[in-house]
Structures are given as structure tokens and as C-alpha cells.
């Protein structure tokens, strides 16, 4: 930058910002807010993915390979088989059993959702010592911390006991035992100590609980079974070659009978990342909207500044300062603001991330896998990104105002009213608006982008939304002259109204922009409200139809997609055969991998399912065979999300992996399930028992005999089985809707922010417009207009703007609502929703915007009426 620009910046800009510090602060604040939202969401996302912990890393260092079955567990007998197959190769085999647990729910805690899920990791506490990490001098391993041999033996002989992370242990004080719900049992487990770590080991995740492997096998109801086996190639010469050879060998061994797949911790992390990619992208899009809104406000504010300082610029111009120099000085000013805003935004965003990270983590936990999100870190990359974002945003927003500033004619020829408002050319083309809307219609027809791991992102859908928003914004500007004409025809005698309408009859670019921004905010807000209302109506109907039983019972530890807590056969049988029970529907569920994409295989007595509840069909079965245990051996029902995810339809076949070998099943029908987005398959439960060789149940629904008291039975069963979570029909419905509302609570906040920003934008626009019209205001005053009348005229102008925006915005929201429901939601999650309009909410939104618009513009009008004739500010 030349010295002249520096001088200009110092003399003019700095002076200006010093004289109007509140405005500068506001500007930096707005920018900071935009950057902050983006940064916060990004950090929270980051943390949610990073926290997918491969739990064994802390103990073993990174494994080279992992074998795990596509469904169910591995028998222990694979261990000697593998050791024999590996021969003298220096490889550590590290069998792992993994399960989940929850703290016992306090009686005053109604919510099951959102409680921490603890990961129970069962490893061979003796063999851990063999790994390189444990062999480094002075590394602590189990029972060796005190040097007392009795401790060594006690570590794996003293019955079930647990080791905790330092962070978790700190929250327990000096408790000697911890009550944990594992499956349906409450266990008071002795706390043996802290999980030992070596110096270079990753930090122990707070929710990790460690046990000796055979103890966890028993506790988790997996005697003789392993969830996976990890392999660590002895480091040293030719490690890469030996690693590759090992993989080939493992693949070859596992291929026989499709017993397992070979993966690596990196691949598991990658799977976790792809599982949540669509979810995270959706969040990012929302945060981008925040940035966009910020951009709009910056633009308004800088534009206002140009208008206010026009005479100053004109004088500089007449002093011979070049156009380019002025432009550069303005851009530099914008850049400084941008960097400041970016820096504050980073701080704010970081703080916001600390709050939002828990919410994001909870959602990920509920929908996908166990995370241990606690905090979100800010690294150099994020800092650079935040600053860059602020910089780019302010430069983009400052571009037009800078050009306007540069084009200011020298003082001699400065005629205030002749200056056109920025950005008007594009906004004045009706054709452009029509073209944008048409392009949006085309985009709405396109399929989603698909990721490995079953994730889908409705890129074209979002593009359509943006096109419609911009198109709507352009077209909405044409409402202003139309309204002006209409009202003029109504022959108002009020001078105030005439003055206001005269401005709208030939709306400036600023007017159009303000309407467009308001329209955008209202459209998105109302569109979101329509989505949520439709979703809620649909879920309510689904709950009504499919929840028919009197009592619903699962483990008290089952609370999220990652939970593995189940009901053991004696317990669910006792429940099902209780004298008060007329019939029971038992559901089993196993996480499986189809084409390396996780999904869920469930089993139920299909006859009972049909007899007792009204499955909401998307594609009903063509005949009754699927409900007849004698005829449904090769049939399967699939959820709608499953079909969307795996691109299947009724009549297709699915190759389902099971411990008894792959099963080829035909899709007999498709049902709606709003419970999970991974999709699920439903087969006759008896088959699952055969395939998986265990008889555990995920949950049981009880239909009571006529006259039985559900609440009384619930109390009775809870007293007998404190590890159960039992819901009466009404309580479960309430709980589901509560979870639903909790999930969408963030959208309400977004709505408020959207409207607030748009109204602030309106105020900024009107103040710029009034500044621009100072001479006119002088004239009006000279004609005898009172301050109140000038304020009223501005209020009419602003209210009309707001009303036009509301009309256009509500129209836009119908289109966006349709897009969200039928394209974006359907493509992301595969859920069909019925369209429902939240009339009350939309009306309230319209009234609020128009009323606040009126109030704000009246206030701006009052301020404008006091503007001096022709002096800066």
C-alpha cells in the first residue's frame, strides 16, 4: 500500500471510526458474530469426529490391523487358530471385548436421552505388558504399579473390577465402587485404580472404563466371544512389508465363510467420519447462512459509511486523489475491520464451541456412535481460517461500497441525489429473478451426493434453496412499486403516506436489498418452521400408530445408537410371561455392516407385530407370507432410511452377514421408521436366535390383559429389576416427542437470530436512505413537516418494506418447506414426511416482523428528522 493510502486511512478512516466508535464496534461485532457461528460449528464438528476414539489406542498404541465380524461377535477359538496360522511371525494379538454401560439413573431424572454412555473395554490385563509401550522403562502396567506381587495377581483374580480415567475418577471423589447398568443388571463394581498410560499415549477418554477381558465377557453376556482382535506388528526392520503380508494373511483366513473383515484404526475413524459427514455438512450449511447474513449487514454498514462520508471523499477527489487510491483505502479499511472481526469472532466462536460441542456430541452419540466430546480446541489452522473468513467477508462486503466511494465525483460536481445506490443493476432484472428460480427448480430434481459409508448430502437441494432465496429476493423488489401503485390508487390524502410511497414507487437498490434480506430471513425461518411442524406431525402420527403396547421395557443403560445394553433371556422371559401380560413383542437388534456400511438388523415375532400395531408402510408387502413364520425364512422388511441408504426397493435382495454365514433375503416390504437414520432390517426373531446364537432382546413391549394396571405393573417390575427402563405408553410418547423437540431446539434460536438480523438490516438501510436524502428532509421540514410526520413517513416506508418482505418470504417459505421436506430431508435421512403448516407460528412471525419493522423504522425516522441540513452527521 502506498503512503498516500496509509495517510488517507489514518487521516480519514481512523478519524471517522474514532468519531463514531459505537458504529465501528457494531460493525466489528456483526462480523465477529458471523465468523463466530461458523467457527463454533466447525470446531464442534471437528471435536465430534476427533472424539471418535479407537479406545484401545491409549493402551496399545495404534494397532496395525483389526479383524471384526460384519455381524455379531467372534468365537475365542479364532485366537489359537490365528496364532497357529501366524507361525513364528512377531505379531501381538490383542483380543478386545467392548460394551457399554450407564450410571444408574436417579429417580428424579426423567430423561434417558443424553446421559453419558460409558464404553467398557475388556482387554487381557496381563498381555498388555508385552506391547512396546508397556516395555518402555518405568511404564506402569496393571498390578505393577506398587511392585507388590499380590497386586499383580489381584489385578485379574479378584473378580470383576474397573479401572477409570483420571478425569472420571476425579468426579467420583473417594468412592470405592461404581454402580453401573450393564444390560439389565445393576452392578456395584469395585474401582481398582486409574488406567495407566505411558507418556506418549493419547489421553485416556473420560468415558472409558477398563476391565479384564474374561470379566467383561461375563458381565456383558458374551461368554467365550470377542468383539474384535487387534494386531500389532512388532516394530523394526521391514515393518511395512510384514504389515502388508499380515493383512493379506488375515484377509485370506477371514474370507473362508466371510468370518471377518480386516480394517485398521484409521479406517474405523474414517468410517466414523463418513457416517457423520452428512450431518456435519448440514450443520456447516446452517453456519454459512450466519456468515452470509453477517456479510449482508457489513455491506449495509459500509454502504452507510460511504454515504455519510461522501462529501469528505468528494473533497479528496477534488484535491486530485485518484479513484484507485480511494478505493484501495476503503478496501484497506474493510480489511482492518475484517481482521478485527475475525479475531473477535475466533474468540467468540471458540467460546461458543465449548457450549455447542456438548450438544453436537450428544446428537452424534444418539444417532451414530459413542463420542467423548468434552472440549473443542483451536489450532493454528482454525485461527488462520477465522481471520481469513473475516477478511474475505469484509472485502466482499466492502467491494461495492468501495467502488461507490471511488466513483464519488469531485466536490464541485457532487450532487447528493444523483448518486445511485450500490448493487442495483442485478437487483433490477426481473429476468434474473425468474432465471434463478427456474434454475432452483432444476436443482431440486437432482439426486444427492453420496459418500462411502452410506452418507448422503443434498448438495443440489441446498443449491436450489440458495437459488430460490436469491431469485425470490430479486423478484420481491418488484413488489415495492406494485404496492406503491396499489396504495396510490387507494387515493390516500395523507401527505405522509404519499411521501413514503413516492420513494417506493421507484425503489432504490438499497430498498430492494433490504427487502431481499428480510425476505431471505423470513423465508428461511418460516421454511424451517414448516419442516419442523411437518416432522412433528408425522412423528406424532407414527408414534400414535406404531406404539400400541401398554409397557415398553429396555435396559436402563440403553439410551443411544451406540449403546449395547440388552435384556438377558431369563429377564425378558419373566417379563413376557407375567400373569398380567396378554402378549409380548420381543425385539432383538444387532449392529451389522453391509458393504462396510453400518446398519441394524432387528428381529421380532412378525405375527405379533402385525396383529398388535399398525406398521406405517411406505411400500406394504404384496402378500401375507412375511408375517407367517413358516413362510418367511428368506423374507425381510426394511425401513425407508435403509432403502434410501442402500438404494433398495421392495422385491430386491439383500445379502445379510450373520455369524452363521451370509443370508440372502428378499425385501418384502418397506416401513417408515423415524427412529434412526442408519436404517434397519426386520426379520422373524427366531432366525436371529439361530444366526447369532444368543437370545438377548433389545426391548420388550407388553400388551396387558384387560383391566390390568400398567402403572402398577411398572412399579412392580421396576422394584424387581432396578436395571430396567420401563415406560408406559403415554410416557414413551411424551419422551419421544420431548427428544424430538430437544433435537430441533436449535432451529428456534436460529429463527430468532434470523429475524433480528433482518430487522437490524432494515434499520441500517433506512438510515442510509435518510442520510442520502438529507436535502429532501430539509425541504420537507421547510414545507412544514413535523419531526413526527417525517418519522411516520419513514415508518410507512419501512413497514411497507417489511410487509412486502413478509408476503414474499412466506411464499418463499412454502417453496423452501417443500424443498426441505421432500428433497433435503428425504435425501439426507430417507424419511418421508407429510406437509403440515404451522399457521399460528407463521402468523406470529409475520406480525412480529411487520411490527418490529414499523417500530424500528419509526425510530430511524425520528433520528433522520433531526439530521442537520448539509453537514457531516
Amino acid at each position: 500500500m502506498g503512503t498516500l493510502e496509509t495517510l488517507l486511512l489514518r487521516r480519514c478512516s481512523l478519524r471517522h471510526w474514532r468519531m463514531a466508535p459505537r458504529q465501528s464496534l457494531l460493525l466489528v461485532g456483526i462480523l465477529a458474530l458471523g465468523v463466530a457461528v461458523f467457527v463454533a460449528v466447525r470446531l464442534a464438528n471437528h471435536a465430534a469426529v476427533a472424539s471418535f476414539t479407537h479406545f484401545t489406542d491409549t493402551l496399545t498404541g495404534q494397532s496395525d490391523w483389526i479383524i471384526q465380524p460384519a455381524a455379531g461377535t467372534l468365537p475365542e477359538s479364532v485366537l489359537p487358530e490365528l496364532r497357529a496360522a501366524l507361525g513364528p511371525r512377531p505379531v501381538h494379538l490383542f483380543p478386545v471385548v467392548e460394551s457399554t454401560a450407564a450410571r444408574v439413573r436417579r429417580t428424579d431424572e426423567s430423561a434417558n436421552f443424553g446421559r453419558t454412555t460409558y464404553t467398557l473395554l475388556g482387554v487381557d490385563l496381563v498381555a498388555v505388558a508385552n506391547l512396546a509401550r508397556a516395555q518402555t522403562p518405568n511404564a506402569a502396567y496393571f498390578g505393577q504399579t506398587t511392585g507388590d506381587p499380590a497386586d499383580f495377581w489381584a489385578a485379574f483374580r479378584a473378580g470383576p473390577q474397573i479401572w477409570l480415567s483420571r478425569a472420571f475418577a476425579a468426579t467420583l471423589g473417594d468412592a470405592r465402587t461404581l454402580d453401573l447398568v450393564i444390560n439389565e443388571q445393576v452392578h456395584a463394581l469395585p474401582i481398582a485404580g486409574l488406567i495407566p498410560t505411558a507418556k506418549d499415549a493419547p489421553r485416556v477418554p473420560a468415558n472409558l472404563i477398563l476391565l479384564d477381558l474374561p470379566q467383561l465377557q461375563l458381565l456383558a453376556g458374551k461368554p467365550g466371544r470377542l468383539d474384535r482382535v487387534e494386531f500389532l506388528v512388532e516394530p523394526g526392520p521391514r515393518a511395512d512389508e510384514r504389515r502388508d503380508e499380515l493383512r493379506a494373511l488375515l484377509e485370506q483366513l477371514g474370507a473362508t465363510g466371510e468370518r471377518w473383515t480386516v480394517t485398521s484404526p484409521g479406517a474405523r475413524r474414517e468410517t466414523a467420519a463418513t457416517m457423520t459427514r452428512a450431518f456435519r455438512l448440514n450443520l456447516t450449511v446452517l453456519s454459512l447462512i450466519a456468515l452470509l447474513v453477517g456479510l449482508y449487514l457489513i455491506f449495509q454498514a459500509l454502504d452507510g459509511a460511504v454515504v455519510r462520508r461522501r462529501s469528505e471523499i468528494a473533497i479528496l477527489r477534488s484535491l486530485g486523489v485518484e479513484e484507485g487510491t480511494i478505493r484501495r483505502a476503503w478496501l484497506a479499511e474493510a480489511a482492518v475491520l475484517g481482521l478485527l472481526g475475525g479475531a473477535f469472532g475466533l474468540l467468540l466462536g471458540w467460546a461458543g464451541a465449548q457450549l455447542s460441542v456438548r450438544a453436537v456430541g450428544q446428537t452424534v452419540n444418539a444417532l451414530y456412535y459413542a463420542t467423548t466430546v468434552e472440549s473443542a480446541g483451536l489450532d493454528a489452522g482454525e485461527i488462520a481460517l477465522g481471520l481469513l473468513l473475516g477478511l474475505v467477508a469484509s472485502l466482499v462486503a466492502g467491494w461495492w461500497p468501495a467502488r461507490e466511494a471511488a466513483r464519488t465525483p469531485p466536490a464541485q460536481v457532487l450532487v447528493r441525489s444523483a448518486v445511485a445506490a450500490p448493487g442495483h443493476v442485478a437487483l433490477r432484472s426481473a429476468w434474473l429473478g425468474v432465471a434463478l428460480v427456474a434454475a432452483g427448480v432444476l436443482c431440486a430434481q437432482l439426486p444427492p451426493v453420496r459418500f462411502a459409508g452410506g452418507g448422503r448430502f443434498p448438495l443440489a437441494g441446498y443449491l436450489a434453496a440458495f437459488l430460490w432465496i436469491f431469485g425470490g429476493g430479486v423478484l420481491c423488489g418488484f413488489l415495492l412499486p406494485a404496492v406503491a401503485r396499489l396504495t396510490r390508487r387507494a387515493r390516500t390524502s395523507s401527505a405522509v403516506a404519499r411521501v413514503a410511497l413516492s420513494h417506493l414507487a421507484a425503489p432504490s437498490g438499497r430498498h430492494r436489498l433490504a427487502v431481499a434480506a428480510l425476505l431471505c430471513a423470513i423465508g428461511m425461518t418460516a421454511g424451517m418452521a414448516i419442516l419442523v411442524a411437518s416432522f412433528e406431525t408425522t412423528v406424532r402420527g407414527w408414534v400414535q400408530r406404531s406404539l400400541q403396547a401398554d409397557l415398553y421395557i429396555s435396559s436402563n443403560g440403553a439410551q443411544s445408537a451406540s449403546s449395547q445394553n440388552r435384556l438377558s433371556p431369563p429377564v425378558w422371559r419373566a417379563l413376557a410371561t407375567h400373569p398380567a401380560v396378554a402378549e409380548a413383542s420381543v425385539l432383538s437388534a444387532y449392529p451389522i455392516e453391509l458393504d462396510r456400511t453400518p446398519t441394524i438388523l432387528t428381529g421380532a415375532d412378525l405375527r405379533v407385530v402385525r396383529a398388535r400395531s399398525d406398521l406405517p408402510w411406505v411400500q406394504p408387502p404384496l402378500d401375507d407370507a412375511v408375517f407367517d413364520a413358516a413362510r418367511n425364512a428368506t423374507l425381510v422388511l426394511a425401513s425407508e432410511s435403509f432403502c434410501e441408504r442402500f438404494r433398495k426397493k421392495r422385491g430386491d435382495t439383500v445379502r445379510v452377514p450373520t455369524p452363521a454365514g451370509p443370508q440372502v433375503l428378499t425385501l418384502a416390504g418397506v416401513y417408515a421408521d423415524y427412529g434412526n437414520e442408519r436404517g434397519s432390517l426386520l426379520v422373524e426373531r427366531a432366525r436371529l436366535v439361530t444366526w447369532f446364537g444368543d437370545d438377548y432382546a433389545a426391548n420388550v413391549s407388553l400388551f396387558l390383559r384387560a383391566g390390568a394396571d400398567a402403572e402398577g405393573l411398572r412399579t412392580e417390575l421396576l422394584a424387581r429389576h432396578p436395571g430396567l427402563a420401563i415406560y408406559t405408553n403415554a410416557a414413551l410418547r411424551t419422551e419421544i416427542l420431548r427428544i424430538f423437540r430437544q433435537t430441533f431446539s436449535i432451529t428456534y434460536a436460529l429463527e430468532v437470530i434470523g429475524v433480528a438480523v433482518a430487522v437490524i438490516g432494515l434499520a441500517l438501510t433506512l438510515s442510509s436512505v435518510l442520510l442520502d436524502r438529507r436535502e429532501e428532509l430539509t425541504t420537507l421540514r421547510a414545507l412544514g413537516f413535523a419531526r413526527r410526520e417525517i418519522a411516520l413517513a419513514t415508518a410507512v416506508e419501512g413497514t411497507t418494506l417489511a410487509a412486502c418482505a413478509v408476503a414474499g418470504g412466506l411464499t418463499l417459505s412454502l417453496a423452501l418447506g417443500w424443498l426441505l421436506i421432500h428433497v433435503i430431508n428425504k435425501q439426507s435421512f430417507g424419511w418421508t414426511l407429510g406437509f403440515a403448516l404451522p399457521w399460528g407460528q407463521l402468523a406470529a412471525l409475520a406480525v412480529t416482523v411487520v411490527a418490529t419493522g414499523a417500530a424500528v423504522s419509526y425510530a430511524v425516522g425520528r433520528w433522520g428528522a433531526d439530521l442537520p441540513a448539509d453537514r457531516e452527521e
Binding site: E76, G224, P235, R238
Partner: protein
């Protein structure tokens, strides 16, 4: 007499008061483990297998190998079994909790002095086990077994698979050149005044070793490993006991010598805290036919070496004075390590010790044979 590990020494704590010297041998230790009984009749291959009634047991192979071109190596392959306090029932036998297996492997490249070693610790179960009817003991990928598990002969062929991380691997066939030796009096080898401090001590004092040694190429992480045909001589102890140390003992020195004239010699010196040797210390000659005869001895330290890893100072060159039972003449032998550093640093077992290949010379400098020397209790007294 060999071994030591923190686990093993746990036995000490449970020993109880020292019994009168000439008391009758008790059947069990106070903590319920079997005590070696005089006059025990050994049966083979059964007694090559494990003895789970006893607390401690090891199969201990040491030897000297040479490859074509004259490269020489010392090696050690040790399998320990150690039972925990009695009375624990297995939750799952694949991950047993009754006993644990520790294994040590070491290899010395004589020319370069490079000494490799590794330890493994596993519970009895899927990855570590010993058979009870024959010799078949393994720990991870390492194993020692009879080539024919049912071979009842006094000279059965053995197969050893071992290695050190990814740096070295060996598979050796060990063929006894002499029948099994049972050390001690009436089948019991005494280790101290305490009547329970004794072992069954079975030894193949001369095994012909032949097999393959695979060595990673130094300094080149991708080069193909070097495969060497090796032959040599080895020594194998199988020792079974429930208590190896008596009160007051701080460690021991153990030496095996294989003379070129076909005889062997084994000694252990149990060191007391005041620096003197426990009266139970013994030197035994094995003649070419496998007959044993004891002789008095003294060991004199000529040189010392301090380990950079553990800071322990070990005897490094020793003078052994004893008598030749054949001629009755005095014998003075020099024991010289083939490399100074043959220390196993004891990351898992908890106790560092020195165990290494040596050569034996007479005072005129003539080489008489090869030897293996074990030095324990120098880093810290073997006391808990």
C-alpha cells in the same frame, strides 16, 4: 538353579519360619504348593511336561551356535511357569488366572558384541501354555516341544522356536548327546537350609543344536533378512520347585561348562547378604557317560562390568578353583564372557540379570570349552 522374577520371589513371603535343618521334608509349603520329595520316581516323557502342583517351573535352554563362515552366536530361550496363590478359579480358561508364563529370549552376535533380548508375559490360556503329559510349552509365537510328544527315550529330540522382536528368529532341533541328568541327592537339589527350598533339577547337559537363524540386516529397514544355517551345542535345564531361595540369600551365580573332552560342569553359588556363599551351594561334574560327582569350589572375581542400562555392577571375569573328580587334582579355570554386555534388563520380570555366553580357558590360556554364566541379585538384592 536359575530364574528369578518378581512373581517368583513372591513365594518367599509365604514361606513361614525356617524349619529345623534335619527335619523331614514336608509334603507342601505353608501356602499349599508341593515340595520335591527325595526318591521321587521320574517318568518320561511325562516329567518333561509341567507340574502344576509346584509353584515355579522353568525350561531353560542356553547354547553356542556357529554359522558357515565362522560366525558365532550365543543364545538363550527360557520358558517360566509361575502359579499364583492357590484357590483362584478360572473365569475363562482361555484367559486363565491360576498361573502365568514368562519367557526370555536372547541372542549374542559374538563378532559384533550385539546383544538382543526380549521378554514376554502371558497368563495361562490361549497364548501361553504348557502340556502336562509331555514337553510342549509355548508363549506367544515362541515354543519348545518334543519332536515326538510320546518319545519315552532318555535322549528325545527337541524343537525350539524363538526370536527377538523382528530382529532375529531361530528354529533349532536339539538332540541330546547324553542321557538326562538329575542333579541333587536322591532326586532333590537343595537350595538352602529350609526343607522346602529345593527343586527337581533335570538337565540335558549336552544337546547338539542344528537349525536356521534369521537375522534382520543392520541399518537397512527394507533389505531381505539374512538366513544362516547354524549348528552348535546347547544345555537345557528343567527345574521344578515351590521355593528357590531361603532367608538371607541375596542372589546367586550359576555356571554351566561344556568341555571339549566330553565332560560338563554345573555350579550354583547362593550368595548371602554378608558376601559369603550359602552351604547349599554346589558344583557338580558330569562325566562323558552322564554320571555326576560333586566337588568343592571357590569363585574369584577378576573383573567387573557396570551396566549402562541398570547401573548394576556384575562380575565380568571369574576364576573357578575346584578339583577334577577323575584325577583328584586341583583345577583352575578362567571364565571369560564373549561380550561384556549380556544383561537382560528385566522390564517385565522386574529383576535385571546377566546371562551370557562365555569361554573357558586354563591358566596357560588354552581354550577348554564353552560356558554359560548367570548372575542375579546384582542390581538389587533378591528380596522383597
Amino acid at each position: 538353579m536359575r530364574l528369578f522374577s518378581a512373581l517368583l520371589l513372591a513365594a518367599l513371603g509365604a514361606l513361614g519360619p525356617v524349619a529345623p535343618l534335619r527335619a523331614q521334608t514336608p509334603l507342601t509349603t505353608p501356602d499349599g504348593f508341593a515340595v520335591p520329595q527325595p526318591g521321587h520316581r521320574f517318568e518320561f516323557p511325562r516329567d518333561h511336561g509341567n507340574h502344576p502342583d509346584f509353584k515355579i517351573e522353568w525350561w531353560y535352554v542356553t547354547g553356542h551356535l556357529s554359522a558357515e563362515g565362522g560366525r558365532r552366536f550365543g543364545f538363550q530361550a527360557t520358558f517360566f511357569r509361575s502359579a499364583g496363590p492357590r484357590g483362584a478359579a478360572d473365569v475363562n480358561p482361555s484367559f486363565g488366572s491360576g498361573q502365568i508364563f514368562l519367557a526370555h529370549m536372547a541372542l549374542l552376535d559374538v563378532a559384533t558384541g550385539k546383544f538382543l533380548h526380549q521378554e514376554k508375559l502371558n497368563r495361562a490360556g490361549w497364548d501361553a501354555a504348557s502340556a502336562s503329559g509331555t514337553l510342549d510349552v509355548r508363549n506367544g509365537a515362541w515354543s519348545l516341544r518334543l519332536a515326538d510328544p510320546t518319545d519315552p527315550s532318555p535322549t528325545p529330540r527337541l524343537e525350539l522356536t524363538g526370536g527377538i522382536r523382528a530382529d532375529a528368529a531361530f528354529t533349532l532341533t536339539l538332540t541330546p548327546a547324553k542321557p538326562l541328568v538329575i542333579f541333587g541327592e536322591n532326586g532333590v537339589s537343595r537350595k538352602g537350609a529350609d526343607p522346602t527350598a529345593a527343586s527337581y533339577y533335570l538337565t540335558f547337559s549336552r544337546l547338539r543344536a542344528a537349525g536356521e537363524l534369521t537375522l534382520a540386516t543392520d541399518g537397512d529397514a527394507t533389505a531381505a533378512p539374512e538366513k544362516l544355517r547354524v549348528t552348535g551345542e546347547a544345555w537345557m535345564d528343567h527345574e521344578i520347585s515351590s521355593s528357590q531361595l531361603s532367608a538371607g540369600q541375596v542372589g546367586w551365580d550359576w555356571l554351566s561348562v561344556q568341555f571339549t573332552d566330553g565332560r560338563e560342569l554345573m555350579l550354583y553359588r547362593l550368595r548371602l547378604a554378608d558376601g559369603t556363599a550359602d552351604p547349599a551351594s554346589t558344583l557338580t561334574w558330569v562325566d562323558p557317560a552322564g554320571q555326576t560327582q560333586r566337588a568343592p569350589f571357590t569363585l574369584e572375581v577378576l573383573d567387573r562390568w557396570t551396566s549402562p542400562a541398570t547401573g548394576a555392577t556384575y562380575p565380568s571375569r571369574l576364576r573357578l578353583a575346584t578339583t577334577d573328580p577323575g584325577t583328584g587334582t586341583a583345577v583352575r579355570l578362567l571364565v571369560e564372557p564373549l561380550a561384556k554386555n549380556q544383561e537382560l534388563t528385566g522390564a517385565l520380570g522386574g529383576i535385571p540379570y546377566w546371562e551370557g555366553a562365555c569361554r573357558i580357558r586354563d591358566e596357560s590360556g588354552r581354550e577348554l570349552g564353552s560356558a554359560f554364566l548367570e548372575l542375579t541379585g546384582y542390581a538389587q538384592a533378591l528380596k522383597l
